[in-house]
């Protein structure tokens, strides 16, 4: 065939040329440059502009960082060191403020002999949430996770060990009521008991019992007041508590808003819209200025607790909207399938709907968590000393009067690390839970 071709059609080549290397412009670095940096006039302009911008920023900041001074006791000493070693008027960061005051930025006014407690609490928390974050671990470990809140509370606030134990015992009563009372007297009695018995226990028995136990067996560590908390310890406590509590509350609100029951639906909607419509800072002021008006005369409870409650309610309204999006995105067939299997409402939600809806809403939920954690900085306006509030306290001392950038850079970096890693974890989770083929 090819032979006849070669004779009849002169312009068809019948022998292969040897393979040649691709042209220089089409390989390696040059090709990459052409494709990714200089693919057209606009691209060239953008590349040059970006390189100029990066150089501009870099040239302004580089000396500041490179000359930074890490060992000094005050800003004047910092400047003296700079004048002696680098030269007067040179641009030099004074990160000595971080080495000098890092404990304050991390722990606020927590007694320095007790610094191990927040650190241990954080370590315990990280270890404790492993069974939730990584489902491949044995399920028995979740019992340890359930005990975590009481251990952490005891570690952070200190005092007698019997207080947290008594509170934990209330929950034990609740689970015992469901487990043992329900088979005998029916689930209604069991559930009612699980709600009423612990409340009765906490109201009337917990205090005296804890007191008596403390008299018999005084175990406890130094008690720390809420106003001594500050810095990243405070941010993390408010942030983590808010995150942990707002998720279940948000899911309940979302279910309420999706519900067919008229009153439940309208109440949830009103709650969500009112909370979301007003800025967090107004809510925080409400918590600090007005909450006492709404409580029985004479009650005065901890400002930090009020803030945690407000932040939790605020975040739960946002989570509710995110989860509602996930619930709405789920095909109707899933709901109908669950119903046709004869599952009850809660069973179908727990086994069929929520696992899928939550998977869809993971990015939104994590974004809300990141937002919540960033919003913990707002507590500075009602007098709690978060890291930003502490910059004011540090500047108020004569040693460090007039220092701005170094503190802001440090705090920004810390927040960035926390929030960015949360964002990455959400991406990991999304990819892990991805079931469709792409």
């Amino acid at each position: 065939m090819s032979g006849t071709h070669a004779q009849t059609v002169l312009y068809v080549r019948d022998s292969m040329l040897p393979q040649a290397a691709p042209p220089l412009g089409q390989t390696g670095a040059i090709r990459w440059l052409r494709e990714n940096l200089f693919s057209g006039p606009l691209s060239i302009i953008l590349t040059l502009a970006s390189i100029w911008f990066v150089w501009f920023v870099f040239s302004h900041i580089y000396h500041w960082f490179a000359n930074s001074i890490w060992n000094a006791a005050s800003l004047t000493e910092c400047r003296a060191i700079r004048d002696a070693t680098i030269g007067a008027d040179a641009s030099a960061a004074c990160f000595a403020v971080i080495t000098d005051r890092w404990q304050q930025l991390l722990f606020g006014f927590y007694p320095s002999s007790q610094y191990w407690r927040p650190v241990a609490a954080l370590a315990l928390f990280i270890v404790g949430i492993f069974p939730i974050l990584f489902p491949s671990l044995p399920r028995k470990l979740l019992i340890a996770t359930a005990m975590l809140p009481f251990v952490l509370f005891f570690l952070l606030w200190g005092g007698s060990i019997w207080g947290p134990v008594a509170i934990a015992f209330g929950f034990l009563i609740a689970s015992a009521s469901v487990k043992f009372l329900a088979p005998i007297a029916g689930s209604l009695v069991g559930v009612t008991g699980a709600i009423v018995l612990p409340i009765l226990f906490w109201l009337f028995l917990a205090g005296p019992i804890a007191g008596a136990l403390q008299d018999i067996l005084p175990i406890g560590i130094r008690s720390i007041q809420s106003k001594e908390f500050g810095g990243f310890t405070l941010s993390l406590i408010i942030g983590i508590t808010g995150i942990v509590l707002s998720l279940p509350l948000g899911i309940l609100l979302a279910l309420g808003r999706q519900s067919d029951m008229f009153i439940v639906n309208k109440l949830s909607t009103a709650f969500i819209e009112v909370i979301r419509g007003i800025p967090l800072i107004v809510w925080l002021f409400t918590a600090s200025l007005l909450l006492n008006y709404f409580l029985p005369p004479g009650t005065n409870f901890d400002l930090m607790l009020r803030v945690i409650i407000m932040v939790t309610l605020f975040a739960s309204a946002y989570i509710a909207e995110v989860v509602r999006g996930g619930l709405a995105a789920l095909p109707k067939g899933q709901y109908e399938g669950a119903n046709s299997l004869g599952l009850s409402y809660w069973q179908s939600m727990r086994l069929i709907v929520l696992p899928q809806a939550l998977k869809i809403s993971i990015p939104g939920i994590v974004n809300t968590f990141i937002g919540l954690f960033k919003d913990t900085t707002l507590v500075v306006f009602i007098g709690l000393l978060d890291p930003l509030g502490l910059t004011g306290a540090i500047r108020a001392s004569t040693d460090w009067n007039g220092i701005y950038w170094e503190l802001y850079v440090f705090i920004a970096l810390m927040f960035f690390v926390f929030c960015f890693s949360m964002g990455r974890y959400s991406l990991y989770l999304e990819r892990k839970l991805q079931r469709e083929n792409r």
């Binding site: 953008l46 590349t47 439940v264 979301r276 008006y293 005369p297 500075v380 930003l388 701005y404």
Partner: protein, 485 residues
């Protein structure tokens, strides 16, 4: 509580729980009862507490004299006016910074979102750094940081004197100082309303022309030019009348000069585009047109009538204390000028507003960038390929195929970002910008001691704002919803 259990008629109470006919009712009645009980408890406590301190809730304080000054007010205000007026000033200030922030955040966000998708490696990385940096650091920190940059790193007004080391930007019309940014400001004369009316009418005319062109396209298939006629209809009348009413001869000269200027730019652009083909030609044409515009305006223009009034204000400033260029008394421009220890004339945008504005725009811009990116990625690649297969050029594909579909995804979260920006503007407290939280929820609250009423009004303002915007958004969503089955 499994449904399979058979309901027993003898046990009434359990039927309320287990029988699906009654269960929903039971739950709702219980919930309502509990909520009402809770509300009753709170209100009873509130009344008892207010009774104890003798502060029955009333809103009379809104009518009493405020007695404090507000640094920035868009409506006439002095400290002899009422608390209600002060609250209104605060509301206007909140809306001002929110409005400015929304505009700039949208521009920044759209640019960053599109550029992050660009194939250009450096640009996309740079935008990624911007977005991640701003999304992962608290807004409050950014506000404080920008405020610190504005107040600590900018030169004092005295540095703008001879040999002070600082100089004004943009041909000596803008001064960035540690007290704020000074900009030229228009001064409205007695006949401004004539110009305003003409401008409004010609913009309406431009829209009518667009409608006509679109109708002509759909009816007859004739493609009328869109961009140039629209701009011409919108702006030529007002510029002509402004120039001619000032001084007929000089105005005519300017008009002729302007016409030649525009003609020259267009001619250069068209000429180069015709001679050099393709992308490079268009690029060269833009550069050459801009160069022509600049050269003509800078070098030739001052000789036309000897007045570079429109294009370079500083040269036209007459000697005198009040820096107003008296070109046409209908509308004049006041330029900032250093006098004594501070700038006079023009308009000052104080540092709190600048810091809040920049920080809010950059922060919200990072979120908008992600929304825009997600919106563009949400349009399936098949749409682009189909448009290319039909022979459409890339920018037409973008504007006619991709963007209309992406907008459906982008607009709702975009509006909720606007809402977030408005609510975040309450962080004005960090830099002392007098927004509604600072007037009504700050000084008024502290002066009158009416915490409950002030917080209630403050909450209602924000709630009304966000409910209005949600309402509009719902209408939009329903209109834009894909019509399926």
């Amino acid at each position: 509580m499994s449904v399979s259990e058979a309901p027993r008629a003898s046990f009434q109470l359990s039927q309320l729980i287990y029988d699906t006919r009654y269960r929903a009712l039971t739950i709702q009645v219980l919930t309502l009862g509990l909520v009402l009980l809770g509300i009753w408890w709170l209100v009873a406590n509130l009344l008892a507490n207010l009774d104890a301190i003798g502060l029955a809730p009333n809103f009379d304080f809104l009518g009493s004299t405020a007695g404090y000054d507000i640094a920035l007010s868009l409506i006439p205000y002095n400290n002899g006016m009422t608390h209600g007026r002060a609250a209104l000033v605060g509301i206007m200030n909140t809306l001002l910074v929110a409005g400015m922030g929304c505009v700039t955040a949208t521009i920044i966000g759209v640019l960053a979102g599109v550029l992050r998708l660009s194939k250009n490696w450096v640009v996309s990385r740079l935008m990624a750094v911007y977005v991640e940096g701003f999304r992962n650091v608290p807004l409050l920190l950014w506000i404080l940081l920008v405020f610190a940059v504005m107040t600590e790193s900018m030169p004092a007004p005295s540095a703008f004197r001879e040999g002070g080391g600082a100089s004004m930007l943009l041909d000596g019309t803008v001064a960035v100082t540690n007290r704020g940014i000074y900009l030229p400001a228009p001064v409205w004369g007695p006949h401004t309303w004539i110009l305003a009316t003409i401008l409004v009418l010609s913009i309406i005319g431009a829209f009518l022309y667009r409608r006509y062109a679109r109708k002509a396209l759909f009816d007859t298939g004739r493609l009328l030019p869109m961009v140039w006629p629209t701009l011409a209809i919108a702006f030529v009348p007002v510029v002509t009348i402004y120039l001619l009413t000032a001084n007929f001869g000089l105005g005519l000269l300017h008009l002729v000069g302007l016409a030649i200027w525009i003609a020259l730019i267009v001619a250069v652009y068209r000429g180069i585009n015709a001679v050099v083909p393709g992308e490079i030609g268009r690029f060269l044409a833009v550069v050459a047109a801009l160069a022509t515009a600049w050269v003509f305006a800078q070098i030739i223009w001052p000789y036309v009538g000897g007045a570079g009034l429109i294009f370079s204000g500083a040269e036209a400033v007459p000697e005198g204390a009040d820096v107003v260029s008296n070109w046409n008394p209908w509308v004049t421009v006041s330029y900032p000028e250093l006098g004594g220890f501070n700038f006079r004339g023009g308009v000052q945008i104080a540092n709190p507003l600048v810091a809040l504005w920049i920080a809010l725009s950059l922060y919200t811009g990072a979120f908008i960038a992600e929304i825009v990116r997600a919106g563009i990625l949400a349009v399936s690649h098949g749409q682009t390929e189909a448009a290319f297969a039909l022979g459409m050029r890339p920018n037409r594909t973008m504007s006619l195929v991709v963007l209309p579909q992406a907008m459906r995804v982008i607009i709702p979260p975009l509006i909720s970002q606007f809402l977030n920006l408005t609510k975040n503007s309450s962080l004005a407290i960090a830099v002392g910008y007098p927004d509604v939280r600072a007037t009504l929820g700050g000084i008024t609250l502290n002066q009158t001691g009416r915490a409950l009423e002030c917080m209630l009004l403050l909450g209602l303002f924000y709630l009304a704002l966000s409910l209005t915007i949600s309402f509009v958004m719902n209408i939009y969503n329903n209109r834009m919803k894909l019509k399926e089955r």
